[in-house]
Amino acid sequence: MKLRVLSSAAEAAITLEFEKYPDKRSVLLHALRVAQQETGYLSEEAMRDVATLLELTPVQVYDVATFYTLFHLQPVGKHVIYACKSLPCALVGASALCRHIQNRLGVGIGETTSDNQFTLKQTECLASCGSGPMVQINDNYYEYLTPAKVDRLLDDLRARGKSDLASKPFKIPNVTGA
């Protein structure tokens, strides 16, 4: 199949999922995730490739891509920060924390740092309400945040691309230390 931007590895990762469903369309969210991982964001070409693979029209793909918040229709930085803003996190200081991140990175919400390292977004509840304020960055959660912890986290990500502050399998309150 002639694809515009997706690699054969991405194609394989997408078509591998077909057997799990009676209908190829069910693979759409997965396919968009794979495409985004490979090309950084969902360009029109990437969405056309997904449409080709799933035998959908481009508009069927676009319709879905624009509905779900984890898809980027514009280029983003290497690390996408999703700062939770819903009420439980807000009650424990999410707004101040978000401001701190903005100042530290010198960007507003929805913007990307000039070195393309970070994009800052706000998001709704991520199911860490008892361990807020929190952010998700790419695949990891970071919880019980303070300005000092955020500084360390951003430094870690800039320097090494990862941070040991990322949440582990979750249990709160952790009275037994298990």
């Binding site: 009420l87 807000a90 199911a127 979750f170 298990a178």
Partner: protein
Amino acid sequence: MVSYEKILTKNMDTPGYMGTLPEYRATGGYTAFEKALKMPPAEIIDIVKKSGLRGRGGAGFPTGVKWSFIPKTHVGQRYLCCNADESEPGTFKDRQLIERDPHQMLEGIGIASYAIGASVAYIYIRGEFDLGAKIIESAIQEAYQAKFFGKNLLGSGFNLEVILHRGAGAYICGEETALLESIEGKRGKPRTKPPFPAVHGLYQAPTVVNNVETLANVPYIINRGAEWYASIGTPKSPGTRIFSVSGHVKRPGNYEVPLGITLREMIYTCAGGIRNDKALKAIIPGGASAAFLTPAHLDTPMDFEAIAQIGSMLGSGGVTVMDEETCMVQAATNLLEFFYHESCGKCTPCREGSSWILQVLHRIERGTGRASDLDLLETLCRRIEGVTVCAFGDAEVAPVLSTLKHFKEEYVAHIEGRGCPFQPNVELVMAH
């Protein structure tokens, strides 16, 4: 502090327990599935009915009854869907069940699928749960290797494929028919009901959708019996429930307790009381979709009926606690920003109404509200309630109507004083 017997959060209290298959087996894991596979499916449904188990996803529908709605005469495919979308603000229990003891849910999926005759089960997990997805994926692999999933399970002739399906960020996909649309690769827009999923569900086939916590209870009911389960909690709301407590408490967290303990016990005993020993102002007892309550309600039992009787709902079990310094207009505005953002856009009253309500709240909060705004808010809410395809419409008006009911003076003070009368210790709505 009285300590209650834990069911679903017991194993994970053992230091070092991470919920792998060998660890789960050592606690008796999958013996209920082995037992169930030797029973007629109808008997399992009967046991679950008798246990009184009610759905933990929000609506509290009796689980055994839901399973019995699958048409018995239907030949062909049936599906089970496990709802692991957990996106209701204030709720974080399924995440813990998934990340710390995933096989309870998988065993529950096995039993439920067998009971309703589903040979395929999808677990719909919210897209943000990356760690959870990895943990479930490896637990599924373990279960296949141990022959709990796959073909002709334990010689019963029953086949079961269990498939993890990841969402991509949309609160509404937790609504069961939106969830089905999302698995079908579409926008998560709820379907008109009836027909209910039990008749026309995933790919138009009979389907049961159950929450993670609901399914995780099932193995224990099969092993220990309907009477044992029914003896916990209250007669109409049996069993334990994991309440997620957040906000201004000393010890936020997940607390598994019998249904029917009071809000007071939950907040002051389990969660340690209010931070810095401030006074309590408001409680949301069941996730962002549930109406606000006040300290006057502290002695209400946390069961489905009692909380409904005082005008709120037990919902998802997310208990959010607000201290005396919290501005109620800001709290309601924060929640309406959530609902405005998450409305799927299908029903006009919900789509347009959420935006109008939010505009009015924003102006009240910023000090440009008008005297007529309180009536306007009330009217807007009443025109959304009950007229939308799914329960989202009722949910989005609950924070507004309940704060208007219990804290009207705060709205009036904002309007008359041209801004917030408090100096809140936190900012709940960010000015951009």
